[in-house]
Every structure is written in C-alpha cells, then in structure tokens.
C-alpha cells in the first residue's frame, strides 16, 4: 500500500508540474504563431503574399 501512496503522490506532483509548464508556455506566447498558420489553408482563397491565377489547360 505504501508503494501505491508514494506512486500516486509522485504522479500528482508530475501532473502539477506538467500543468505549470503548460501554463507558463501559454503565457510565454509559445502558441501564438498558430494564429497566422491557421490561416494558411485559406491563403489560396484570400491571398496575402501571393497572386494566384486559374486558367484552362
């Protein structure tokens, strides 16, 4: 049983550490580059840095 208690305790600390890490990275702006990248699929329809041309073959 002692093993279980230690394992659960240590695991909870690891989860807490993971959450702290995640929040710190969030606040550090780690994922903000995604705001631009999420628009990539729409580039073709609303070009920002490119010009596209469709023509018959």
């Amino acid at each position: 049983m002692n093993v279980l208690i230690i394992t659960v305790f240590v695991s909870l600390i690891l989860v807490a550490a993971g959450l702290i890490f995640f929040v710190s990275r969030l606040r550090g702006g780690d994922f903000e580059h995604g705001d631009r990248l999420s628009l990539l699929p729409l580039d073709e329809d609303h070009p920002r840095n490119q010009q596209s041309r469709h023509e018959r073959l």
Partner: protein
C-alpha cells in the same frame, strides 16, 4: 518553378496527378463497395458463393477490405495530400516523374491484388494478405511517394508546416515502419511465403500492424485532409491551432500502443493486453479533441449545412469519427471485449468508421475538389443531397443491424442455465437468429452503394462540363531559417518528454524500489527543467521552430511512434521458443506442447489459409467457462509456437476450431466441407467441393519445410527429404478411413490435406503412417 523576379517565384501546381487520383478513388470506391454488397449477399444467401472457388466469401472478403482501405481510401488520401501539400508549401511537387510512378504503381498494385486474392494467393493475415512480390512493390511505391513528399518539403516557399502536413509526415513514416516489419517473410515460391514471426509473436506484430493500419492509413492522413479541407469548405480557420498541436502529438504517441486490444483475453501475455487496453482508453482524449476541433471549426458556418453538401458530408464524417473513436476504446475494455469480440459488433464498429468517417470524407472531398480541378460548378447539388441522405440511411441501417446482431451473439454465446451449463449449446442457433440482421445489413450496404453511384454520376457529369485547370501563383522567396537540427532535437521540451516517457518504461522493467527512486529523481528533474525553461523568453517558441524544420519534426515523430511498438514487441519477440514449452514442462503438463505439423498437415494448413477460413473461424478459445464448455480446454500460448501465419481469427461467423481435432470423424469433415448444410442445417458456409477435385503439389512440400526449418521449426533433414512420402502415407490413412464410409477420395486431393490438418487442431501429432499392427494385419498375419 521559375523566377518571376528576384524577390518572387512563379509556381505552377501539378494538378494532373491530383485529377488522376481523384478519378481512381471515384472508380475504386464503387468496386470496393460492390464487393462489400456481394459478400454481404453471400452471408445472407450462401448460394451466392456460386460454387466457384474464385468468388467464395473467404477469398472475396480480403479483396473487399483491401479494396476499401488501399484502393478507395488510399487514392482519396493521395489526391488530398498532393493537392493540399502543394498549396500549403506554395511549391509544385518536386518530381512529376515520381508522382506518376506513385500513381501508376499504386494502381498496378491494386490490380495485382484483385487478381491474386481471388486465386487464393494470400499471406492469411488481415489487411496484410498480399503476397510477397506485391509487398515489395508496395514498399517501393511508398518510398517513391515519401521521396517526392520530403523533397517537396525541402523546396517549400512557406516557412512553417501547417498541421495537415504533420499528419501526412506521421502517415508516411509510420506506414513504412509497420508495413515492412509485419511483412518480413521467407519466400518458398513466387506466390508463397512464411512470416518470420510465429504464434503469439506473429499475432502481436500483426495486430500492431492491423490496428495501426486503421490508425495511420484510415485516420491520420484523413485528419490531415480534415484540417485542410474543412476550413476551406467552411471558409474559416481551424477552431484551435493549439488544440491541433496537442491532438497531433498525443494521437501519434498513444495510437501505436493500442494494437493488443485486438487480442484481449487470448493467449497473449497479460501485461501486453493490459497495455493495449489502457492506451486504448487514453485514446479517447486526443480523438475527441480532434473531433471537437473539426466540428467547432464550423462555428458560425452551421447555416451552410442547409445549402452546401460538402459541409453536410464533412460534418457527419467528423461526427462518425467521434462515434467510432468512442466505441473503439469502449470495446478495448477487457470486460466489454469479452462480450463484443468475435461478434458482428466489431463489423458494425469498423463500418461506422469506414463508411461514415472515411466514406463521407471522401464524398465531401470529391464534391469540393472536382469542380475546382475542372473549373466548373458541381453538376447537381440536389443529387449530392440525395446521396447524403441515402448514404446516411445506409450507414445507420448497416451499423444498427450489426450492433443488434453482435450484442445478441455475445449474449447468446455466454448464456448459462441455472446449473452453469450452456443454455444454447448449438452454435448454429445463434447464426440462424442473425439472418434477419444480415439481410438488413445487406439493404444498408445496397443503400450506401446506391448513394455512391449517384456521386459517380455527379462527378463524371461535372468533369464533362468543365475542363482541366492550370493554377499558377507568384510567391515570395523563402529566406533560410538557419535552425540547427541538433539544437532542436536536444531542446528542453524534447528532453522533458523523453524523460517523462522513458522513466515509467524503466520503472516497469527495474522493479518497485528502483522504480520509485527513479520516479522521484525524474520529478526533481522535471520541476528543474520547468523552472529553467519556463523562465526563458525567446523570439520564437519551440513548436514554431520545430514546425519550420521538417527533418527534426520527422525524427521526433519517428521516435514517438517507435516507443510503443518497441516496448510491446521486443520483449515478446526476443523471448525464446523454449520458454513456454519449458513452462509447460515445469507444470508436468505436456499435453498441449506443440510439435511441428506433419507434411500433409502443413499442406492442409496452407489450404486453410488460402481459402480464407480465418475470416469466419477463430482458433483461440478464451479462458471463459462458456467458451471451454462449448469448445474445450482454453488455448495456451505454447500450442502456437510453430504456427505461421497465426490463425487466431477475429470473427466467429462459424464456431472456433482450435479443438475441432478428433471431435468429428473424417467423413463428417468430408461431408461438411462438401456442403455444410448436410451436417449443420442453417449454416451459411460456402461449399468447398472443389477441394476434392484440386490437388496438392507435394513436390513443393520439402521446400516449405526447409524454409520453416530456417525459421526455427525443428524439422530434421530426413523429415524434409521424406516430405512427399510421409504426406502420401498419412493421406492413405485418411482415405482408407473414408473408404469404410463409401467415400472415394484421391490421396493427393486438397480435401485430404485439409481434413488431416483439421484433425490435428488442438491435439498432439497424429499417425502419419500405418501402425505395425495394421501393417501386419494387411500382410495377412
């Protein structure tokens, strides 16, 4: 690619190959679905097997699954990948030649499969049936695809890789690993080989492959397609790019561990079963994260459901993805699996995924893509709407009938009376009770196929009205990133992740005390790294940098997918064959220790594999009272050590066969194989009377035994040299026995060999030559 001026480049996309894959998926989809309808008809009406070996259920079912997975969904994936990759990278595919080798190579592989599988040329492993020359072709074509893809990444004009491309990378890398490892085999002729894995090892490697064929062929590339085409159709960005990062890494890491859930409650070691179950349950989180990300992308665009058939198909496809990925982990829980495994519930589950998720994603993709590739409007939105409704009806009817049928079968098999004995001892009762549901499934399948034929008409009418389009763009040249590969590979987040993953694995190996010490040290390390890395402020985030470095990204994906496979497979494969035998010897129970098959039994086993008996019969009695009462002593790991390929099966349309040896007389098997209704009224098994007419070529038996000897089966040189004589001697015993029942059979017939194999199942070696007593009687003494 050409230069427009010093700052920009003009890029013309290669949409020829996209159009080719689009046409291929449209056509192969109809073929795959039609095969499904044919085999559903055979299950409802056994006469539909037509007494022709080529068209029997056991041979057509693998063709149906391979056709649906690799021909239909495969070509759809390639169309989506080639279209979206070029646009996301703002670059033409690196090599037109490689693109066309990929296209034609893939189509030739499909044609080769369509010829060989009905001929009974198969490896006998689900979704990996193709014979070794075709396997080599698959690997070559896949490598061509990979070279073209990664070469294009290297020539890209967009710094970061969008999430869809991560899923494509994971697909290319993982499918290569899975396919090569699972198809390691030793050829004995141009059309026959033996897997280098045997018994439980083969089972684990096969379902590591089989499960991840679903994960990394039917799921990850289609998720990539979802992340690209759903935002385009909805005309808004993906709901959460951050969630897509979490979705991707958790999915690719966890998925690969889940394979053993196909082998729950079997002779697979318990630790591997538990790992498979736990990781399957963990899959709920990333799968639903991805599903919600897809559905929430439609926020603000739900009105399009009324008007846009593409959105209709995508929305329902993503919903089916959610349902299938809820049901999968549920079925992977051991107690649920005890009820659902081997039943039609599994068939319902896989068809919710294939018809709902893959099929409707394909439809949405085609309705979106074809008008753009041919520069016109969709021929008929109303027809697409009709396809949507009839297709949805078809899936729901199919899936619900299989749910009802499957759960009923599970309960029927388990039912015990007040005294603890089987309430329904006759297996056939459960099958006949399912007939109505089989017919409902057939109606559902026909409805789905009808909808698909509407799609075909709509697609071809659209193509006829338009003409192929050429798309060129002018794009700013990409400055070099200057990122260091090694710096990324050894960056903080990678090291932390490696420690968090590696420590529990080491803990599992090293024992409790060492484990806890390692865990505490790990904790200190993680907190230290969090404090260190968390305080740093860089211009660019870690994931931003990784997305800009395809090689580092690919290496990390490879590591993520290899961990699970290595942890599960290596301990099982390196265990010596003597271990289970020795374990049995230690208990004093030698009854179940396996001995190599005799030459005739070996040939009979190859016929069993060739006819696809495993698609309806299992050879794995689970350790449940209701199973041991029905079939006999539960199956033990040691009994399969010389089985290649393993034949545990995954479905019981017919009963388990592991202890069928000695249960019936030879003449019963003869009658049953000729017409199963003669011994089991109500059976839907095809007639195998062609086995009496066809002959085994015993001149090849020696080569087969020599190949098995190289793989570790303890045949001696004398055994191999005497293969033909020994086989004919044992065959003589079988036909002599049959002749007492007025049955005349050729000793060289396939029927004789198959009967000998069936009589061996679950028992020790059988007589392979007349006994001395019989010989002396024959000599008149």
């Amino acid at each position: 690619m050409e230069s427009a001026n010093s700052m920009t480049q003009r890029v013309e996309y290669d949409d020829h190959v996209v159009r080719a894959f689009t046409l291929a998926t449209t056509i192969w989809g109809a073929v795959g679905l039609l095969l499904g309808v044919i085999i559903a008809t055979q299950l409802s009406f056994w006469q539909a097997n037509l007494d022709t070996s080529w068209l029997q259920f056991g041979r057509l079912r693998p063709l149906h699954t391979n056709g649906a997975i690799f021909a239909w969904v495969g070509n759809m994936i390639f169309a989506g990948v080639y279209y979206s990759t070029q646009r996301l990278l703002k670059a033409r595919m690196a090599s037109d030649l490689l693109s066309w080798i990929h296209f034609w190579g893939w189509q030739l592989i499909i044609v080769a499969a369509a010829i060989t599988l009905p001929m009974g040329l198969t490896q006998g492993k689900e979704y990996a049936e193709l014979i070794w020359p075709i396997d080599i072709a698959v690997v070559v074509v896949w490598v061509v695809f990979a070279i073209n893809f990664f070469w294009t990444l290297a020539r890209r004009n967009e710094r970061n890789l969008y999430v869809a491309l991560w899923f494509y990378i994971a697909t290319i890398v993982t499918v290569a690993v899975l396919y090569i490892v699972n198809n390691l085999q030793l050829p004995t002729s141009w059309t026959h080989s033996y897997s280098i894995f045997m018994g439980v090892q083969d089972a684990l490697v096969q379902w590591w492959y089989g499960h991840n064929a679903v994960a990394f062929f039917l799921t990850t590339p289609v998720l990539g397609i979802m992340y690209y085409f759903l935002p385009k159709a909805a005309e808004r960005p993906v709901y959460s790019y951050r969630l897509s990062i979490v979705h991707f890494w958790t999915l690719v890491f966890i998925y690969i561990w889940a394979g053993p859930h196909h082998l729950l409650n079997t002779a697979l070691p318990d630790w591997a079963q538990t790992l498979g179950m736990v990781f399957s349950v963990m899959l709920w989180a990333p799968s639903w994260g991805g599903m919600l990300n897809g559905l929430l992308t439609l926020r603000g665009a739900w009105d399009k459901l009324r008007t846009d058939p593409v959105i209709k198909f995508f929305a329902v496809a993503v919903t089916f993805y959610g349902m299938a990925t809820f049901e999968g982990p549920l079925l992977a829980i051991k107690s649920v699996n005890a009820l659902g495994h081997y039943t039609d519930w599994i068939i319902g589950h896989v068809h919710a995924g294939t018809l709902g998720w893959n099929g409707f994603m394909t439809a949405g993709l085609l309705y979106w893509l074809v008008p753009r590739l041919w520069g016109t409007k969709l021929h008929s939105k109303r027809l697409a709407d009709a396809h949507f409704w009839i297709g949805t009806f078809g899936i729901l009817l199919y899936v619900s009938s299989m749910w009802i049928s499957g759960v009923s079968q599970g309960l029927f098999w388990q039912a015990l009376d007040a005294e603890g004995f089987l309430k329904f001892p006759d297996f056939i009762e459960g099958l006949t009770a399912s007939h109505f549901m089989y017919q409902m499934r057939l109606v559902g399948g026909i409805a789905y196929l009808s909808g698909y034929l509407m799609l075909m008409f709509n697609v071809f009418a659209t193509i006829r009205a338009g003409s192929p389009q050429k798309v060129t763009i002018e794009v700013a040249a990409l400055p070099p990133t200057g990122l260091s590969f090694w710096r990324l590979i050894f960056s903080g987040p990678v090291l932390v992740s490696a420690l968090v993953i590696g420590a529990p694995i080491l803990l599992g190996i090293s024992g409790v005390i060492t484990g806890i010490v390692a865990l505490v040290l790990l904790e200190v390390l993680v907190i230290g790294l969090v404090l260190h890395y968390g305080s740093r402020r860089e211009e660019r985030s870690w994931h931003d940098m990784i997305e800009a470095h395809p090689l580092a990204f690919t290496v990390l994906v490879l590591v993520a997918i290899l961990i699970g496979g290595m942890v599960e497979i290596i301990p099982t494969v390196v265990a010596t064959k003597d271990a289970p035998v020795q374990a049995m010897a230690d208990t004093g129970n030698y009854d179940f220790v396996q001995r190599p098959y005799s030459p005739l039994e070996l040939e009979g086993r190859d016929i069993y594999v060739s006819e696809g008996c495993y698609v309806c019969h299992s050879q794995m009695i689970r350790p449940f009272r209701h199973e041991t009462l029905r079939y006999g002593e539960y199956s033990r790991l040691a009994e399969f050590i010389y089985d290649t390929p393993f034949q545990w099966g995954s479905k019981r349309t017919g009963p388990d066969l592991h202890r069928v040896g000695g249960k019936y007389a030879n003449v019963w098997h003869y009658l049953h194989l000729n017409d199963a209704r003669s011994t089991s009224p109500g059976s839907n098994m095809p007639r195998y009377n062609h086995l009496s007419r066809e002959h085994v070529d015993f001149s090849h038996t020696r080569t087969k035994m020599q190949a098995l000897r190289k793989l570790g089966v303890p045949y001696t040189n004398d055994d191999c040299e005497a293969a033909e004589t020994t086989a004919l001697s044992q065959a003589q015993l079988v036909i002599d026995d049959l002749s007492t029942q007025d049955v005349v059979l050729d000793p060289n017939s396939k029927m004789t060999a198959l009967i000998a194999y069936l009589q061996r199942l679950g028992r020790g070696p059988q007589p392979i030559a007349p006994s001395l007593e019989e010989l002396s009687q024959a000599g008149g003494h």
